[in-house]
Amino acid sequence: MKVVTGVVGNDIHVVANRLMELSLNARGYEVFNLGVNTHLEEFFDAVVETGANILLISSLNGEAEGWSREVKALKSKYKNLDDLIMMIGGNLAVGRGDAEEIERKYKNYGFDLVCHQIDLNTGLDWLEEFIEKRKTQ
């Protein structure tokens, strides 16, 4: 499976992004890492260009919400992205937030999987479970 990943917005926190690439590779995914400081359009362009099955966006500085509001509107401008698995993880709110409330919000923005302050390996386990479940549907 192909994954496009990167850090959204003007966020330069690179360490987790590099570790994510390592872990995804080890789990057998073909990874296209756009790195830090990536804008939403670049993510969707890369998905189209690579024919990726999964888009995994991460954010550490808490700015992701501002960007995520535009996900649905932007995604609808692209064709054939209905089966794309949308995942977001990291630190998804500025300051402290209620985890359930944050998850609900991001699912409304169009994400299938929301990992707010979840351990990297746990998050990737969730992704595998989600893929399995979708296969059997």
């Binding site: 330069i12 690179v14 360490v15 590099r18 570790l19 690439e21 390592l22 872990s23 590779n25 080890a26 790195g35 830090v36 400081n37 990297l120 390996n121």
Partner: protein, 454 residues
């Protein structure tokens, strides 16, 4: 008029520069007090120089900060530049400076030197009559450096690689090389008038599991790029790595090889110094622990034989430190240096040999690149992964080298990517590590290894 002078006139006829008077600046540098030159202090000092970090938006705040530092017996004053100036956005810096001056809050994370201008800043620098070191992070620092030297700042930190790969995602690296070439030549030209202007490279890079071989190669290359433009005083640097032995080995190898390569290109007359940065990674939140870490860094710097140490503060984990906390570190560090007597001389020949072989192999690969000039060879070597900096956010960096810590906390290379680490060295590095784990386990180790000081 020379091409360089034409370029200088273009750079300095900027709407944010108030009539740059070349002749007056030259006269100023020619007659400037020797005490303003760090190169002069390096030559006569019998102790390690202590330099804190720090920059505030307004003239008054910066002046007050310097008063604190002087009271705590500082050797070298810092001038840290704000982030807008670093990106050449002088318009925003100007607006934020006005807001900072009119209100009580700081709207900038450093001193906007270009906006204050050299006439104003020079008054502060000459008032304290201590060497000032310019700290920034600017890929295109041409205007900034002209302003700094005209202000009396005779040490310039940075370089095309060390100020780009850790700080930027897509600023063009080839442009950075050319902009820094200008900086080196301006520094070299001014150096002929009085004591030499010292250039310093920024060794910590990403401060995240960078192996000593990569650090040293980049230090040597930035040094060579400066020396070949005529710079006569240069500082190589690195930061505390996590293992005392590895720091001592790194210090020994970098000193030896800096001298070796300077002589190779016929620049053996240049003065070369070693700068040590106290721990640059994640700091403990506990402020007392932070002070212990700072103290330990000072001891290691002495073991390494550094000429200058750059300090952190007990407030590192919580944000921009207060002048009081910053001055306290300076006083504490001076105290530790004063009572450190009778240091043992530790030499680890096996580690030194391995590290020397690695550095020489990478340097040879860079020199063997078919490009015509050194900066193009270096550019190509970064582009094709012969030089690979772990955790660099820049798109040109390969990110294929993987490092972890061994049982003694030495940083070891377990995947060399495209970096020509000789087989013998690579086997030695891997043999020090527990490689029986799967990637999941190794990733957890890496996370742990990054945060060892917390």
């Amino acid at each position: 008029m020379s091409l360089l002078q034409e370029e200088r006139e273009i750079i300095l006829s900027n709407e944010y520069v108030d009539n740059f008077d070349f002749d007056e600046v030259e006269e100023f540098v020619r007659n400037a007090s020797k005490d303003l030159f760090i190169s002069h202090h390096f030559a006569k000092a019998d102790k390690m120089l202590v330099q804190p970090r720090g920059g505030f938006p307004t003239y008054k705040q910066q002046f007050d900060l310097y008063e604190f530092f002087v009271e705590s017996n500082v050797d070298v004053l810092p001038l840290t530049i704000d982030s807008n100036t670093r990106l050449n956005d002088y318009g925003t810096a100007k607006k934020m400076l006005r807001l900072s001056e009119e209100n009580e809050i700081d709207m900038l994370n450093g001193y906007p030197l270009v906006n204050h201008g050299y006439r104003t800043t020079r008054k502060m620098i000459t008032n304290f009559n201590k060497p000032v070191s310019l700290r920034h992070g600017t890929p295109d620092a041409r205007l900034l450096i002209e302003t700094a030297i005209a202000s009396g700042i005779f040490e310039i930190e940075g370089g095309p690689i060390t100020y780009l790969l850790p700080y930027s995602k897509n600023f063009p690296l080839d442009k950075a090389f050319l902009y820094w070439k200008y900086v080196e030549r301006v520094c070299a030209n001014y150096s002929e008038l009085n004591e030499p202007i010292n250039r310093e490279s920024f060794g910590p890079l990403t401060a995240t599991l960078v192996p000593p071989s990569i650090t040293i190669v980049i230090q040597l290359l930035e040094m060579l790029l400066a020396l070949e433009e005529g710079v006569k005083s240069f500082s190589v640097s690195f930061s505390q790595q996590g293992s005392m032995n590895q720091d001592i080995v790194t210090g020994a190898v970098i000193k030896k090889l800096a001298r070796f390569y300077a002589e190779e290109i016929g620049c053996g007359d240049a003065a070369i110094h070693l700068v040590y940065h106290q721990w640059m990674g994640a700091f403990p939140m506990n402020k007392d622990f932070a002070e212990q870490l700072i103290n330990m860094s000072t001891v290691i710097a002495s073991m390494v034989g550094a000429d200058k140490i750059i300090t952190k503060t007990r407030e590192e984990a919580t944000g921009i430190p207060t002048p009081q906390a910053n001055a306290k570190t300076v006083a504490d560090t001076q105290y530790t240096l004063r009572i450190l007597n009778g240091l043992p001389n530790i030499v680890d020949e096996e580690e030194e040999e391995i590290l020397t072989l690695e550095v020489k192999a990478i340097m040879e690969a860079v020199f063997n690149d078919p490009a015509d000039t050194l900066w193009r060879k270096v550019f190509n070597s970064i582009k094709n992964g012969v030089i690979d900096v772990p955790f660099s956010p820049h798109i040109i960096n390969h990110n294929n080298m993987i490092t972890i810590r061994d049982a003694n906390k030495n940083i070891r290379i377990i995947d060399r990517g495209n970096v020509p680490i000789p087989d013998r060295c690579f086997e030695y590095e891997r043999a020090q590590c527990d490689l029986s784990k799967d990637t999941k386990g190794i990733v957890n180790d890496i996370i742990h290894d990054i945060g060892i000081m917390q």
